[in-house]
Symmetry: C2
Subunit: 295 residues, 2 copies
């Protein structure tokens, strides 16, 4: 079966063909045959325990009601060694497993040339080419993974929960710049109002052309999910109107190329034991050793 045939099958609704294309993209080089299509690419991230999976599941339901097909890429940067796939969890799978308009795939960080920074945009390109209306890229964690995911998407949704402590602080300090939409999930809990006000104040301090809305949700009951879907559409319209969509897609492609190039360099970089020992003993500086390694 050629990639072109797989693409035909995928566009006709074969989940199996989509999966094979993703595997081919992860292993080798498929993208030359992949023309961009019309998918809206949405990143969903936030610290553990805020209800990302439940929110994603509820959002899928609303998007399906609106007639959109949805692909979910569940990225797990917390599994550098084991290649585990935590996020394709049972609840979400159970809700949408029998729906042929929903495709779900997990991706761990292990073994991709250039890491997730290269692999996630590559997988997004495949899912777009397969004709999905919306591609949701879900990541757990607060850290570099968010930045990589934001670089791979058009719209970046950050989910928080009231009183999430570290999480809210982290969002205020580091994720603020990359979030296009904030969701305060579990908004029926104490402190939801305070968390939202905190965030809105932080947002107001750094004015931007697009001001991220702060949306309260209670995902298990579906509360606020319609508003989230509306906000996604509004952001997409703003991206197109303002010319930012093209800029983001250029940035995404550049990030992918850069990550792949670094991965190729990394493959060729081995530090000899005697060099490492000299650095450990303090007789060679690490920067000198790095320069020698590249020379």
């Amino acid at each position: 079966v050629t990639p072109a045939q797989l693409l035909d099958e995928a566009r006709s609704g074969s989940a199996r063909a989509v999966g094979r294309l993703l595997s081919l993209a992860e292993d080798g080089d498929l993208s030359a045959v992949l023309a961009p299509d019309h998918a809206r690419v949405v990143g969903i991230t936030g610290p553990p325990g805020v209800g990302k999976s439940t929110t994603t599941s509820a959002l899928i339901a609303v998007l399906r009601e609106r007639g959109c097909t949805v692909a979910v890429l569940a990225v797990d940067p917390s599994s550098p060694f084991s290649g585990g796939a935590l996020l394709g969890d049972r609840i979400r799978m159970g809700d949408h497993a029998t729906d042929s308009g929903v495709f779900i795939r997990s991706m761990a960080s292990r073994g991709h040339l250039g890491g997730l920074a290269a692999a996630a945009p590559g997988a997004v390109r495949v899912l777009d080419a397969c004709g999905f209306d919306v591609v949701l890229v879900e990541t757990v964690g607060v850290g570099q993974s968010e930045v990589d995911v934001a670089q791979a998407t058009d719209t970046s949704v950050v989910i928080l929960a009231p009183g999430a402590g570290d999480g809210v602080q982290a969002a205020k300090a580091g994720v603020l710049e990359i979030a296009d939409i904030f969701v305060i999930n579990k908004s029926d809990r104490d402190g939801a109002q305070a968390t939202a006000s905190d965030l809105r104040r932080a947002i107001a301090r750094t004015p931007r052309a697009w001001e991220p809305p702060v949306l309260p949700t209670v995902a298990p009951q579906g509360t606020g999910i319609t508003e989230l879907a509306d906000a996604l559409e509004q952001h997409q319209q703003w991206l197109q109107r303002s010319g930012n969509l093209e800029l983001r897609r250029r940035r995404r492609a550049a990030a992918e190329v850069r990550a792949l190039a670094l991965g190729l360099v990394q493959q060729g970089l081995a530090v000899p034991d005697e060099v490492a020992d000299a650095v450990a003993a303090g007789t060679t500086s690490p920067r000198q050793a790095a320069q020698d390694l590249l020379a």
Copy 2:
């Protein structure tokens, strides 16, 4: 003031001199003048909200009772943009701020050549050279940051809490391989026993020369912290006996050199807009673009 003079002052107890040496190391190249000393280097990590700061504070108190000087490097990988410093928090600072045997420094990921994978080992080398008995490297998050931190330390402590959900799963899936000691904090809560049993079963499935203990603590009351300090000493003795200490330090130096070398390459890598646009349009493959970029 020369680096050698700063080092003299630092070794005589000047926190200011330690701080200036760290800044010099972050900016430039100091390590040629830094001979390794005797510090035990301990990484402390775990998901947000498990009580890392409280545990670290309680551990510092026990180490101080045992006559050790302690340097804390609080690494914040969640602040890629803002360079914020979340972890040097008030509680811990308040407890030990007036103790000249405790030095605390925060480090964000921003702006370091080679990222935290290079900057953290560099800072550890400075703190070791300054003569501290113990260097604690604290990181928040579950992800690549843990791996980088583990590479920068002799002993890697992973803190979890009962029912931490994602956190425990992540630890089982990805952090298991890098943890030398597990702490179940908040062990007076429901589910602590189950979490500990879960972990011990997971550990038993992947036998290693050093079997990571699983230690229950209630950090605010200091419960279990003496046992944690004992476990740290036992692990250090094992490292020395088994020859693994030298191997780990070689690996740490190699990781630092590799990260610096990649950082140097990255500095020189710019993806031209027309290349990014061609990749976004599907007319050039990202891998071809990456290879062209390196050629």
